[in-house]
Every structure is written in C-alpha cells, then in structure tokens.
C-alpha cells in the first residue's frame, strides 16, 4: 500500500480488520466553524428582524416582559453560545450543521462516537481555544498536532474524521459494452492480468472520457493502451484506430479475468 498522503486514524476492530479513517484538516474545520457561526448569526439576525417587524416599540416590549420571559431570553442567547455545539454533537452523532455540510464528524480517538462528557469537554474548551482571538490557539494546536486536534480535542480525546462521497458506479459501467472484436484484442493482450492500480486508472479514464475534449481523449486513451495494451505493434494500431475502438478495448481489458 502506498504511503498515506494525509493523517489517518487507525482503528483496530474486534473483527480483526484495521480501519483507516482520514482525519479532517484545518481547512475543513475552519469552514465548518464558519458555517455554524454564520448559521447562529443569521438565526439571531432573522429573529431580531421578525421581532422588530411584529412590534414597533422594541425597548418598551422588552422592559414590559415578565421576569420569566426576560430570563429565558438572556439564557437563550447564552445557550446558543455554549449549548448549540454539545447538544447537536450528542444528538446528531458527532455532527453540527456545519460539520454535516462539510462531511466531517467528531469521534473518539478509538473511532467510537462521542458521548456527552467528551463533547462537553471539547466545547467548553472553546473558551481557551478562542484565545487570544478568533481561535488562534486552536489553529496553532491543529498545525502542531499530527491529527489536527485543537486543545479541546486533546483534552477530550476526540478528533474529526472526514467522510468522502465515493461513487461505485464507475465499476458497474465497465462490463456493459464489450464488443467481440475488442474482446479478441483484449484476449491477445491479456497474457498478464492488470494490477488494481491499472484497473483503477482505466476506470477513472472511462468514467471521465465523455467529458474530455476529443484530442485529449485520444491522447490519454493512447497512453493507457500503451500501458495495458497488446505488445505487438499491429494489434495496437488496430486498437488505436478510433476513440471508440480504444475505449472498447480498455473496457474489455479491465473485466478480463485472471484465466
């Protein structure tokens, strides 16, 4: 396996399979925070405008409110600052709205979901992570730690993992159309089976081919044929006659079994 380009969280499961989850870096985390922060900001903005639309004398109404209502109002403002994070992380399996939008999730260092205590620790620590301004301490900590954890994550034993959208349809598209001629060529070329990397490469090309400019499509196809194609020049020329025949050959080549 090639060396991992990004930091990973390795989890050993009881099923004796090692999971390797990609860790979300500083960029994802800042973006997720921006989404959450603007959500909270717009929530209060809208609440304020609706309120001023409904009543003309804002100050008078505020002073006329009953004690309970006023207390609720102030506590509500406070709650969005501190409780929003913990409540949504506990209820939505480690995701706030911003984290969901970015496809990242809070997990414990062993890969299990966060509980109330962990979430409370990491979110209470925002008080320190925010210092001296705009999460500067958190950013320094994320740059210095291997798995991009801010101080609150270090204290809570949590980190953020990334969830990618992986499309498996490209594998299904390949075997659909394999013409007899292409198959014959592939048979001729198929002395050695393709390595998984080559299969992946060819499939990615086939998935992207319809969107490529004609000359680029031809050039890339030719290079792939050179890599996986028949050894003798004559068969190769036949395969390279047109883009259709090239891609039909590649399609037939990837589905070809190991004898």
């Amino acid at each position: 396996m090639h060396p991992a380009p990004t930091p990973h969280l390795d989890v050993a499961t009881p099923e004796r399979v090692a999971l390797t989850l990609p860790v979300a870096g500083i960029g994802y985390r800042c973006l997720a925070w921006l989404v959450d922060a603007s959500l909270l900001f717009f929530f209060w903005l809208v609440a304020y405008f609706v309120f001023t639309l409904l009543v003309s004398d804002v100050l008078g109404v505020l002073q006329g409110l009953s004690g309970v209502a006023q207390t609720l109002l102030v506590v509500g403002v406070f709650a969005t600052q501190w409780l929003y994070w913990t409540v949504s992380e506990v209820l939505f399996h480690g995701q706030t709205v911003g984290k969901r939008a970015l496809g990242i999730r809070v997990v414990r260092v062993d890969g299990s979901p966060v509980g109330v205590y962990e979430s409370a620790v990491r979110n209470l620590c925002r008080a320190v992570d925010f210092l001296p301004m705009l999460y500067a301490a958190a950013c320094v900590s994320m740059l210095l730690t291997r798995q991009h954890r801010r101080l609150g994550d270090v204290l809570a034993g949590t980190l953020l993992v990334r969830e990618e959208r992986i499309d498996l349809d490209k594998y299904a598209a390949a075997p659909a159309a394999a013409t007899p001629i292409a198959q014959a060529h592939a048979q001729a070329a198929g002395a050695r089976p393709l390595a998984p990397e080559d299969v992946e490469l060819v499939l990615s090309f086939l998935a992207r081919a319809p969107g490529l400019a004609p000359e680029v499509r031809q050039r890339l196809g030719a290079r792939l044929v050179e890599r996986v194609g028949p050894p003798d020049a004559e068969a190769r020329a036949a395969v390279l006659a047109s883009t259709e025949s090239t891609e039909a050959f590649l399609r037939a080549r990837v589905v070809q079994g190991e004898r």
Partner: protein, 330 residues
C-alpha cells in the same frame, strides 16, 4: 485468487448498499430488531470484504469505500451507552458528589489558592491604600469614594429578573474559563483563581477602609458561599487537568489527559444548575434593601450548608465511608 475489480464490485455491491441503507435507518432511529441482526451480519461481511480489498485491491476507491462503510458501521454497532434521563438523575444523585469527594485534594488546593488571592488582595490594599487603584476596577472605586454601594444601582437600571439571568450567565462564563484554562498546564486556572481572589480581597479591604464593609457583606451574604464554592470547584477541575498534563503517571500523556478531562468536566457540568439557581438569588435577594441583612446572611449560610451537605453526603456508599481516610493521600 483475486477476481477482477469490476466483477468483484458487481458481486458484492448489493450487500454494501443494503448495509448503507440500514445505517441510514439506524441514524434516524427507525431500526427494528430483526433489521439490527441483519446489520450485524452485513457489517461482518463488509469487514471481510475490507480485509479482502486491503490485500488484493489496496489504494483503490473500493478500498476507501469499504473503509468508510466499515467505519460508520463500527461506530453504529460499538456505541457507548446512551446518556438519558435516568443517567442524568444518577449523575446528580451519585456520580457528581462522588467525583467531587474523590478529587477533594484538587478542590482543596483550589480553595487554598483562592484564599491566598483574597488575603493577598486584602493585605496589599490595607497596607498601601493606593494599591486599590491597581486592583479595584475604577467603576467600583468611583462608587466607594461617594460612599455608596455600586450594587445598589444594579436594581435601579434594570429589573431584578434580567439582572438574575445576566449574573447567572456571567458566572457560568467565569466557571467555564476557570476550568478550560487547566489545559495551559493549570497555570491559567491558577491565575484565574488568584486573580479573582485578589479582586474580592482588594474590594473587601477598600470597603473596610471606607467603613462600608457592612454594605458589602450585606450584598454578598446571600449568594457568596455557594457562588464562591462553585468557582473553587471549577478551579479544582482545572487543576486536575493541569496535573494530568504535568504528571500523567503510567499512561501516555494524551490518554491521561482524556481520562482526567472526562472526570474533571463532571465537576463543571454538575455545578452548572446550581450556578443558575444561585444567580437567581444574586439577582432577586442580594441587591437593595428588600430583605434585611440577617435574612440574607441566614439564607446564604443555609444554602451553603445545603450545598456542601449534598456534595459530601449524597450517594455515599459504606465502602467509600470506610476507605475515606485511607486514600486521602491520592
């Protein structure tokens, strides 16, 4: 022998899609028992597929897909116990006070630091009157110079209920910061404790010099005991974190920190509702002349005694009672 990747995907994909659908239902909480059994079976199959992909198709999208799928299923199956209302009840009935008793060394150290701050502030202002210019906020000094309590005005500019909620949230912030500062090797917590102590001590000394100590005591008598206790407890939680950083013992530093952080946050979470309640007292009872001083003092002492009685007695087991003296060294 490995079969070609597309054929492998075509053969196994139905199971993976089924597992994904079940995981989506598990997240939305509409999973039935028999579906749960299917989920378990499918997860084991996907694990086997992942092992297969790790060997034969490393670095491909299928490998990454299975990795992620198994990661989500793993998180769904190996869940920590869910905290629900019975857990909340149990937390306040047993766990919070028990944690506090177990960590009483840290709470004691925190209290000592706080008292040290108070003494320091008081001594400085009593010895060198101009020290008050340094240690007491100018707004407070202004009021004291005019011979009035600054707290009298809290009531006249805003109705008592908004004062109560404002005070409660402010105290919550102080409590949170005092705890969270523990991550700075406990130095931040130390600073917060001593600094708050110095402020209180300096203000008390200034009031005493101006002959207003009675007024100050009148104001803080009702809420002071509980409120200061809570700040001290949060300080203890911060010191726990700092200690885990400095001396992690036999564990790696990261693990020790996570373990102690979990314990420490219990102290802070447990204090939060009491802080809210005492904020109400501070807003309604403490300012002004609505209640005579002896009522305020009586209330304050009673609340403090109740609070500490709860912390020291609630959910206490016989085993804990007997080994109480033995493990006091920890």
């Amino acid at each position: 022998m490995a079969i070609p990747l597309p054929a492998y995907v075509a053969r196994r994909r139905a199971d993976w899609d089924a597992l994904q659908a079940l995981l989506a239902r598990q997240r939305s909480g509409t999973l039935k028992l028999d579906a749960l059994r299917t989920l378990d079976t499918l997860y084991r199959r996907a694990s086997a597929d992942l092992a297969h992909a790790q060997t034969f198709y490393p670095g491909t999208d299928v490998h990454r897909f299975l990795n992620q799928l198994c990661g989500q299923a793993y998180a769904a199956i190996y869940q920590p116990p869910r905290e629900r209302w019975p857990a909340v009840r149990d937390f306040f009935r047993r766990e919070f006070p028990a944690t506090l008793r177990r960590e009483r060394g840290f709470v004691g150290a925190s209290a000592a630091l706080f008292l040290l701050g108070i003494l320091l502030g008081a001594v400085v202002v009593l010895w060198e009157p101009r020290g008050a210019e340094l240690l007491v906020p100018s707004g407070v000094r202004h009021y004291v110079a005019q011979g009035r309590m600054w707290t009298d005005d809290i009531l006249s500019v805003a109705p008592p209920n908004s004062v109560a909620s404002g005070i409660a949230t402010n105290n919550l912030t102080v409590t949170i910061v005092t705890f969270a500062m523990g991550i700075t090797l406990g130095l931040g917590t130390l600073f917060m404790l001593v600094n708050n102590g110095v402020h209180i001590g300096a203000i008390a000394a200034l009031c005493a010099r101006e002959g207003m100590l009675g007024g100050l005591l009148d104001f803080i008598a009702a809420h002071g005991p509980v409120e200061l206790s809570i700040i001290v407890i949060a300080g203890g939680a911060g010191l726990m974190v700092g200690q885990a950083l400095i001396d992690p013992g036999e564990l790696p530093r990261g693990q020790a920190l996570a373990l102690r952080g979990r314990e420490a946050v219990k102290l802070v979470l447990g204090c939060a509702p009491f802080l809210g309640l005492i904020g109400v007292v501070e807003g309604y009872v403490s300012p002004g002349d609505l209640f005579p001083t002896w009522v305020k003092a009586g209330l304050g002492i009673a609340l403090g005694a109740l609070f500490w009685g709860y912390l020291l007695r609630a959910g206490r087991t016989d085993a804990e009672a007997t080994d109480m003296p033995a493990d006091s060294a920890s």
